[in-house]
Subunit: 339 residues, 2 copies
């Protein structure tokens, strides 16, 4: 590909959101004089009696966690969305608001307080995948739920308030902004080409090779051409699937393997338990024809240069557009070397 | 207004970007167990011989800063955009990229290393406003520059690598994402109503009163109905102006006063030098008819509960949409009490 992409400022187009990212490859050379993150080198115990996610412990609202052995899911005690709030609509001139209802859950990946997905066996990650499937299905069958967002915040720097391995599921009545953008872009392409946008893109990635980190029979793990975060990664099924319910038993295992491979590589990159937010974007559960959807999981990790130096998405990024220093190709190469 | 907005989850519409924010007022009650920021209580000297922004000091590239007395502007030594990079275009199937050129500058607000805008006299802030005008004009007259983004990152938590009071100006050949959204929304409204979208909105704010923090003859300082950050604030001229060049001499002074009032209130809120990113969105310098533009300045501060507890825009926010806990009305009330 055009070698200017490795040397000079440019914008890259995100086919899924329709937005641009500014890439400034030459900027990786600037010295760092800003804030350093703290890294906790503390080894965590397998059980912590003060952790509200550990088995048999009592949560803030008085409920007692069961003595769970693999995955444990419960409704968030401080949910941002509730399913019993009233329905209302504000439309006073340029003040526009609408009630939003939903169900928020917490999913503990393992009873072992000391682990993260990177330390878990593929068989155990597969149990997490099965729990995600169950939740997506059950929540999606609820008439009032039209979209299910599965995500994980890992690490204190990502606002994670408890190191116990866990993720969240926020499900709601409308499509959030990011999903709405991807819905529109995929629909546009599908209606023109009668093929999956991401599917065609993955074909190009397979031919180009330079951004692929890992692949197995069902999945591609790669740095998207338009990645925003320094070591952003996407996991996507090679064959179009609308949502994670379409995974075969083997597919679920291969998905678990893909998650295992990338989270292990991440931990090796800066020799630290690598922080990130990850999330699955998949078809809404709104009962519409979503045949344009091709589900995928993304990892947005903030670290840039070391365990303590992160990329700040601030001033220009907030007012202008996301901006990155190292290119997607360099990031992919570095991660691939750690597999 | 509908009292449900203070009690139940809802989405609010941002008229300028066309996007939604999720508001979860009941969530302000949840306990905080996550990361705390460090606060530097260190008193800075008026001159620091190791600071590359202080007058008469040598910068990394060997240049020596002049013995400046008020505002000092120079081209960024590690610019994300350069004006001598080649022009290129990549369009290989779904890989789309374009070269982007520009000029990045740094603007020191004061030679006094110990100060921030909050500590400066209104007369001195006015000099900063005049420098912004000069830069917007000069950069905008450059054929290759079609948009000028003025911004400030303040505080280590906002990725600011040097506490010396300074901001930045990144100017470039195309419109970044956020500006493009606001350009479209304002244009749509203007072409329908032949009036400024923000102008009509400000009228509604003046009648509603509940989100206004401060006003003077020319400016309104308020928390927008759709604010994302806990204490996000906007400063906007009451009468439509496309860009800051339309400020009268009195207008520039009143703008400086508005900046002074809000930055002082911020510092009082959590008794700390309040971190934020701020930025001015104004008409592109692309030579097109930009009569739909109404310039405004926004402050995006991360702190939520105290000098050490910030709001994390992570998992759900990255994959779904921005989400806030306290309402815009409560935030405005708290800030107003500090004026
Ligand atoms: O230019 P600085 O202050 O070195 O860097 C800071 O502001 C830039 C513009 O918002 C960001 O891209 C950087 O991530 C941030 O650390
Ligand atoms: O739900 P938690 O882990 O308490 O909170 C974390 O994740 C949420 C969802 O991304 C964010 O809204 C919070 O800002 C963050 O601190």
């Amino acid at each position: 590909m055009n070698s200017n992409l490795q040397d000079y400022s440019h914008k890259r187009f995100n086919i899924l959101t329709g937005e641009w990212v500014l890439v400034s490859p030459h900027r990786a050379k600037r010295p760092w004089q800003g804030q350093n993150e703290e890294v906790s080198k503390e080894k965590r115990p397998a059980y912590d009696d003060k952790c509200y996610l550990c088995a048999t412990n009592t949560r803030i609202n008085g409920e007692i966690n069961p003595d769970y052995k693999d995955v444990f899911v419960f409704t968030n005690d401080f949910a941002a969305l509730q399913n019993d709030s009233p329905s209302f609509n504000v439309s006073e001139g340029l003040f526009k608001a609408k009630s939003e209802t939903g169900i928020c859950k917490v999913i503990c990946f393992s009873p072992d307080h000391s682990k993260s997905l990177a330390d878990m066996e593929i068989e155990d990650i597969k149990k997490v995948v099965h729990a995600w499937q169950k939740e997506y299905k059950e929540l999606g069958e609820n008439e009032a739920i039209n979209y299910v967002q599965i995500f994980e915040n890992k690490g204190a720097v990502m606002g994670c308030s408890n190191p116990h391995p866990h993720g969240q599921i926020w499900s709601q009545s409308t499509l959030p902004n990011e999903v709405d953008k991807k819905d529109k872009q995929q629909k546009l392409y599908f209606s023109k080409n009668n093929k999956s946008l991401l599917g065609d893109y993955l074909q190009q990635e397979i031919e180009a090779k330079e951004r692929i980190i890992f692949e197995n029979d069902d999945f591609l793990v790669f740095v998207p051409f338009w990645a925003i975060w320094p070591f952003e990664v996407m996991i996507a099924p090679k064959k179009q699937q609308k949502n994670i319910l379409e995974l075969s038993e083997d597919g679920a295992k291969n998905y678990a393997e893909a998650i295992s491979v990338i989270t292990k590589a991440y931990d090796r990159l800066f020799n630290t338990s690598f922080p990130y937010s990850s999330g699955i974007h998949q078809a809404p559960t709104n009962g519409l024809d979503n045949s344009h959807w091709h589900w995928h999981m993304s990892f947005y990790p903030p670290l840039l240069r070391s365990a303590t130096v992160k990329k700040f998405m601030v001033g220009y990024e907030m007012f202008g557009s996301p901006q990155r220093d190292i290119t997607a190709e360099i990031a992919a190469k570095r991660l691939k070397e750690l597999i």
